[in-house]
Amino acid sequence: MKGSKMADSSESTLRQRSTTPTVAQPTETADDGDRKEVVTSVFTPAEQRQSLVVLLVLSLIAFGTRFYKIYEPDEVVFDEVHFGKFASYYIRGTYFFDVHPPLAKMMLGAMGYLIGYDGHFLFDNIGDSYISNNVPYIGLRALPASLGALTVPIIYMTMREAGYPILTCALAGFLVTFDNMLVTQTRLILLDSMLVFFMVCSIYSYVRFYKTRNNPFSIRWWFWLIATGVSIAMTTSVKMVGLFTVATIGVAVVWDLWVLLDIRRGLTMQEFMKHFWARAFGLILVPIIIYLFWFYVHFAVLTHSGPGDDFMSSEFQETLHGNSMADGLYIKYGDNITIRHKDTSVYLHSHPHNYPLRYDDGRISSAGQQVTGYEHADPNNIWHIASDDPNDPKTGQQVMHKDVIRLLHVATSSWLLTHDVASPTMSTNEEITTYSTDEDGSRFNETTFQIHLESGGDKLRTMASTFKLIHMDTKVAVWTHPQKLPEWGFEQQEVNGNKNILQKSVLWWSDNIEGKDAAEIEKEANKPVKKRNFFLKFAELQGKMFSHNAGLTGKHPYQSSPIEWPFLIKGISFWTHNDTRKQIYLIGNPIGMWVAVAGLAVIVGVTGADVLSRRRGFYPLNYDVHKRFYYATGFFFVGWALHYFPFFLMGRALFLHHYMPALVFSYMVLAAVHGFMFTEGVDGPISEPGPQVRPRRLKRAVVPVIAYGTAAILMAWHLGSFLFFAPLTYGTSAIDVPGLARRKLLSQWEFHFAK
């Protein structure tokens, strides 16, 4: 049966041979007397020195590309609007809301703090000058630029640790160094350079960890396990995209555990569980703690009320200094209050004008007094809270959740009511009107409303409480929407009774108690800021981040769909300067990216052909090459796929720069594919020897001249293409119209100043 032979050969790829006698072991290699000492490192000291030189040179170039004229443009560029602003908020300590976790923004804030920036500037518009606003923007940009540059040596080292020859590693580093998108995106005050940096750290750490697998539970093994856990936590603390990195590592870990579980590995169940729990600790528990830690710091730093308040619940807002919620006054029966709609901020209003008996569309109204939503403060916005029991006015008692109340319009002395009459603009909703206290009480039942407190505790308060007003009789909620009434309603907003009381837009709040005694206000207002459990705050913020992120569905002229990214169909205009006709246009290096797509296609093709031929009992790839192809190149490919395909499931507006993490993987894959195509054999073994590992034979890759030649050609093209588009990448010099036309390789690239 073919299956057993395949199982054996895959077993032999495990490279760790158990000496347990009860388990049959295939013994087709490595018995030629080489000793362990021979293979502790496959690379000679000379090679290691060479590698170090290449690493240093690449790093220098990378720093050069990221820091070249970093002082230009001296204006706010693209999303610096957001992230620069957030850094300022951290320095000021004012609360803000963003869909991304806090780490990268905190790093920017810390950087600003270190260089003495006081957070005075709010980065309000693209194109605002840093010079005239006196912002130390170079220092701020230096942080992402440094991390962007450091990505290059880490990629080089990752490839090196994964066993590729210097040429292949250098190619990967070179491709990443000279990609226009990575350069643009990492030399500005943005989050992606931190994201990519921590992401490559995760991959590097995991590769190192995997290489120590023959010495499980050794110090190095633990070190790299924890390092992987820390890195994925940091990645996720920058952007939730880090979860894709977690998934990449997760896939590798599950696969590794599956192999360890195999009885032929000779591990007892106790030993296996030890492996399992160690990974659960290092890759689940540690990351969660670190992730939460950054949120803890986030809340600890942002202690003052700020622009983010409105996103949060009133309980949350009460924990911030200077928040109006903290000043909420308890509302009692007999108070005169104003009531405002949460979504549209209008006041619940009425005035001595009636609905027209017959509307333009022929429908008929009750011709009762109008109730509308009005934007401005007005005596007609005042309502008196009365109890539903005429015999027990309850005066002075606090209004509680689920109390049934009546609202008296003070100026016209009439009761708020709703009834089964169609509203002016929506025939499905009920009309809301009032009737005078002079009339008899026969309509009493139409005037009772139940108050449903949705937030702010069990007692009705100003500012803090949001509530629904549910009509007792017909079970509709008092509601308003931005539809303006016609002239007869003074173009105020329509208020009606909505049958769908679950809708989120039926919430109201009270902003003021009229005529409240000043001393009383003083007494209630000087309450200290409340404390709230960290986990509650975290859960609330995390939930809001997710729901807001999913809600970013608005159209943006530069948004693109994931299918367009690898082919670089569309770029993003980051910044333009009309006088000098300079611009920054985010676009990847077309040569590199398009060739990278070809590299990905090669992986798919080779894998497909290999799987098919194996199924027919034919093994086209040499054993070592096969192993490297799947374990190393395949791992990077999985990284690419997991950082790319999930975007297809996202409903939010997406942009080209979301492809950055995947792009880095695709360059690593491309370099590896180049190695696969032009290098003969592989270097190995690369993993640490361990006590249970049999002696292994040393294998060396042969890098022929053609490999150098093709790599040189690819690098030259890549570099040429980089330089060609560099003016758009750096925005340091203007290009004339024909120049732009030459650079417009695809019609969808919408450069400015092209005419």
């Binding site: 579980l261 195999d262 009885i263 079970k475 769908n500 009381i501 199924r615 027919r616 499931l649």
Partner: protein, 764 residues
């Protein structure tokens, strides 16, 4: 070696002699009917396997037949009598009291194919054609409008409901026989059938004139054919093998022609086929020609055959709907011209200068070029130009020469490719105009507006006519003809193309479609291509239907794309929570029910609600199946074999098929943005019901389970299902009169609103 534990139908069984499980088990491997000439070795093996699998509860080698002849008759024929009895029960439950409500419940329909007016709907036509057939059989004349809640006239709606309920009823025997094909024990087969029989939701939905019963029945049919085909796999290219492969194909065609949800079960069969071909690919002993034959057979039966059925249903659709109707606008102008009662066929054929025309966008869902006196609130502030789906006089344009060029009215001058023309909006006199001002929504393109008039010469009013395609067989000589010629309008000054890309304008534009001048020069985009729809010119003779023939394949394709587009457009309105809609996460644990009609005291009120026991435990079975799979696979990795390789193989197959079927019918709804309702879950439920039966059988067959335990567990299960079904009986058959407050005890979950109007929703 795979799955030899498959029971074969014994040829003798068809002759009414005891067979099936009993034969296999009772004779302990010795086949009393002599060796089967077709596959004796297999049968022998099969019998051995069965014997091994059921070691305990079939102890007597010979079945003890009773001396009472009636009991003996039952014993000899129970493999027929049991399913027959279940089927009769099914018919009774589905048909009884079917006319209890004499008004239209939920989305009942039935007039489309009787009147023959062309209509548009997101679902393929087969199911609705069958409903039409039932109406015709009932003698219904198609004049009733089927407004939800309206009272039926005297029109045989009872027959139409029974016709539909028939499809719902046959699910029960399908479940029984499919379970049998999946090699479940007799008890488990009965259990599967009873689960379907006693699911209140299946009962309720089957009893109205809706597509769901047909969809469900044909889904069951696909699965049944598929399992039968699989059981033939050891004898490829035999007659039975071909028969059930072809039947699977036909079934796929039918299910997909009823609702596109059928594509999910098609995907299931597709995935199985891929796996099977992959297995065969690894079989090095198989001759290459045989392998190719496997491919060809499947391509023919599982692709060509279903596709033919699907296309045939559309051919029938076009053939029956000969009259112009409410769905015209979804189709191409040329197609509309071929409908009876449509004015287009009297269009003069060739368009000349001075003609009055309406211009339709050829993109899917494209409207007519429209303008009205309202102006753009931003940009140029000139008169709006939009695309609009309804027919009114603001769609009328007059084709004129460019400014300054006189028009000789005596001579009929044809419009030709490359002509420079001006389009004048008839009711306002404005010219179709574009300029370097950003369009209001698609800001990367130029705005198109109505501007000036005959006496305000402006070169921005000039458009170049580019003929795109001549769809008729008339000579392609660059002449613009109404309906049959498609063309582009290129702005002479800017070089951009007049385009409408289904982007809606805000409220100020009445949410009509934005028209822009597109600079990207995408000459092949259907959104930049237009045709003349209506054409009036007194000086020209009217054309005729013979001149306006559209091609079937073009119409077929067009209609299918339109169906997809409008299906995807059924997105929930974020500002409005639809009380009837529900979220997929609420289905598996039956967090919601659905009021199918008004809840007035004098109405018969139908509450669509599943049998909670069936729903909860079938969902649980998916979890249990997943956990058992994980358990077995981890134990196997440690070389601990809990079940034999054959059992493991069979467990994998059934698990993959039923869990896969469930996921394929469930997950897409979670991803889809469209509005979802409770009944979308019903096909998925069928798979989980079979899985529940299978998993119970799987565990109860374990040797460690005593016969007594087995009996008790089955008895409890049957009792729970039937008792719950009866408990919810009233709700399923309609609550007559005011809702009894006693019904409150039926509201097992927080959001069920049998009594109360508004209930908070739970998400699971």
């Amino acid at each position: 070696m795979y799955g030899s534990d498959i029971k074969r139908r014994n040829p003798a069984a068809q002759a009414g002699v005891p067979s099936g499980d009993d034969v296999m088990n009772n004779y302990a491997g010795s086949d009393p009917y002599g060796p089967n000439p077709l596959k004796p070795a297999f049968q022998q093996h099969q019998a051995n396997l069965n014997n091994r699998e059921h070691p305990s509860h079939h102890a007597p080698v010979w079945r003890q037949y009773s001396s009472n002849k009636y009991i003996r008759f039952y014993q000899e024929n129970d493999h027929v009598l049991i399913p027959a009895f279940l089927t009769l029960l099914s018919f009774w439950t589905r048909f009884r009291d079917i006319k209890s409500s004499n008004y239209v419940v939920w989305d009942e329909f039935g007039s489309y194919y009787i009147k023959g007016d062309f209509y548009f709907d997101v679902h393929p036509p087969l199911g609705k054609i069958l409903v039409g057939l039932s109406g015709a059989l009932a003698g219904y004349d198609g004049t009733f409008s089927f407004d939800s809640g309206a009272t039926y006239p005297d029109m045989g709606y009872g027959f139409m409901r029974i016709f539909n309920a028939f499809f719902g009823a046959v699910m029960v025997p399908f479940a029984y026989f499919t379970a049998q094909e999946l090699n479940m024990s007799r008890t488990a087969c009965i259990f599967a059938a009873v689960l379907v029989l006693c699911d209140n939701a299946y009962l309720t939905i089957s009893r109205f004139i809706l597509l769901d019963s047909m969809l469900l029945a044909s889904t069951c049919f696909v699965l049944y054919c598929h399992t039968r085909f699989r059981n033939e796999r050891h004898d490829p290219f035999s007659l039975d093998w071909w028969l059930w492969l072809a039947m699977t194909g036909v079934a796929i065609g039918l299910v997909s022609s009823v609702k596109l949800v059928g594509l999910f079960v098609t995907a299931l069969v597709g995935l199985y086929t891929v796996e099977e071909l992959w297995e065969l690919f690894g079989d090095l002993s198989l001759p290459k020609t045989t392998y190719i034959k496997h491919w060809v057979a499947r391509a023919a039966c599982l692709i060509a055959l279903p596709f033919s059925v699907y296309v045939a249903s559309f051919a029938l659709h076009f053939a029956i709907l000969r009259n112009s109707g409410p769905g015209d606008a979804q189709m191409s102008s040329l197609f509309q011209a071929g409908l009876n009662g449509n004015q287009f066929s009297s269009n003069p054929l060739e368009v000349i200068y001075g003609s009055k025309v309406t211009i339709k966008n050829t993109g899917y869902g494209g409207g007519l070029l429209h303008s009205h006196v309202q102006t753009y609130p931003e940009g140029s502030g000139q008169q709006q130009v939009t695309c609009y789906h309804h027919k009114d006089t603001n769609n009328d344009w007059i084709i004129k020469r460019a400014h300054g060029e006189s028009l000789d009215f005596e001579e009929n001058q044809n419009l030709r490719d490359g002509d420079i023309v001006r389009l004048v909006h008839e009711s306002t006199g404005r010219n179709l105009h574009s300029h370097r001002i950003k369009a209001p929504v698609t800001s990367s393109q130029w705005e198109v507006s109505g501007y000036g008039g005959d006496n305000t010469p402006d070169s921005n009013d000039e458009w170049i006519l580019e003929i795109a395609e001549e769809q008729s067989s008339l000579p392609r000589n660059g002449i613009l003809r109404s309906l049959t010629t498609t063309f582009r309008l290129r702005h002479r000054m800017l070089g951009c193309l007049l385009t409408a890309e289904n982007v809606n304008l805000p409220q100020w534009g009445f949410r009509q479609i934005e028209v822009t001048c597109d600079q990207r020069n995408r000459t092949s985009s259907p959104h930049s291509i237009w045709n003349v729809e209506q054409h009036w010119n007194d000086k020209l003779p009217p054309g005729g239907q013979s001149q306006y023939k559209s091609r079937f394949w073009r119409d077929f394709w067009h209609l299918n794309v339109a169906m997809m587009t409008s299906n995807n457009a059924l997105i929930p309105d974020p500002d409005k929570e639809d009380v009837l809609a529900s979220n997929p996460s609420q289905w598996p644990l039956l967090a919601v029910g659905l009021r199918m009609c008004g809840w007035g005291d004098d109405m018969v009120k139908f509450y669509l609600l599943g049998n909670p026991i069936v729903w909860w435990f079938s969902t649980l079975s998916i979890l249990v199946c997943g956990l058992s799979f994980g358990f077995y696979i981890i134990r196997r990795q440690r070389k601990l074999q809990d079940i034999s390789p054959a059992e493991w193989d069979h467990f994998q197959y059934v698990g993959k098929t039923l869990v896969g079927g469930w996921f394929l019918h469930y997950l897409p709804f979670c991803i889809m943005g469209r509005v979802t309702y409770l009944h979308h879950y019903f096909p998925a439920l069928y798979f989980s019901i079979l899985l529940l039966s299978f998993m119970m059988d799987h565990f109860l067959q374990k040797p460690s389970i005593s016969a007594k335990t087995r009996t008790i567990v089955w008895a409890v299960a049957f009792t729970a299902v039937v008792a719950t079904f009866l408990f919810f009986w009233d709700i399923s058959y309609g609550i007559k009169g005011p809702v009894d407050p006693q019904m409150r005890n039926r509201q097992w979950r927080a959001a069920w609103n049998i009594i109360d109007d508004h209930k908070p929703n739970t998400f699971i």
